[in-house]
Symmetry: C2
């Protein structure tokens, strides 16, 4: 149902049993440009520093920067399409999110994810909770976002 086909053409679908603490995943890259930043900002975060490169110069960000929710949304796209191939999808109840540095036009985003904890559910024998750390970096290695979600992950069907 979910998961994805990797660069070698292999369909990848992981269940709870396939994960171990310390497992690491790296996504493909997303090339961000000013127009994407402005389009997202116009729809969801219409503030000068997200929608107007000229007006952005006089703001806290001193230039155009992506909405944090845009960085988060691109991160999710990378997780789903090329990073963590969970068989029943990436389903999170939430977590802590941080944006240590602004995301800028020209940034090439990729996500690195690591399994921190795996807790089989006592009440739901078909699944468990998996804690991960997801870092979104640009081509310079700068960490633009840290997100620590708790995911609902299915066991392999009997």
């Amino acid at each position: 149902m979910a998961g994805f086909t990797d660069a070698e053409g292999v369909k990848r679908q992981l269940y709870l049993e396939d994960l171990a603490v310390g497992d690491r995943f790296t996504s493909a890259e997303h090339a961000l440009d000013a127009q994407q930043i402005i389009d997202f900002g116009t729809q969801f975060d219409p503030q000068p520093f997200h929608i107007d490169a000229e007006a952005a110069k006089a703001t806290f960000f001193q230039g155009l920067a992506a909405s944090g929710w845009h960085t988060a949304s691109i991160t999710m796209k990378l997780l789903v399409t090329s990073c963590v191939p969970l068989a029943d999808g990436i389903i999170g109840s939430g977590g802590e999110i941080q944006w240590p540095k602004p995301t800028r036009p020209g940034d090439l985003l990729r996500v690195e994810a690591e399994v921190l904890e795996i807790v089989p559910s006592r009440s739901q024998p078909t699944r468990g909770m998996v804690s991960m750390r997801c870092e979104t970096r640009n081509q310079h290695g700068d960490v633009l976002q840290r997100f620590s979600p708790k995911l609902v992950v299915s066991r392999r069907p009997a």
Copy 2:
């Protein structure tokens, strides 16, 4: 620069000095439909439960549900355009986000925000950090998202 014009046509722009712990704000409403959910999901969270109402029935969500990042992005739009009129904009470094219930087609979203803590910066005399609690609810009062951001808020210019 930022802030917004309220329903009575009054331009509202708040600085750090204008905020007090316990201050509450309520946004306008956003009417969500299936097409918006599918459009956002297709672009940023292409999983069956976000992009295909029929396929979604056999998933964890048992029907079409919005990406959590879509709920977060709509929340930001409501905060910026009708909820918390900060003079230099709503600038957050991050926070804890939770999605207790799925956001569904037909939901009418609104945001309630409350000031939890105000900490003037020692190193930056022109601003401070403000902790808030932002709850996103639907027309039934269900809490769909809780977000507790720390915001950078400017003092009134001398």
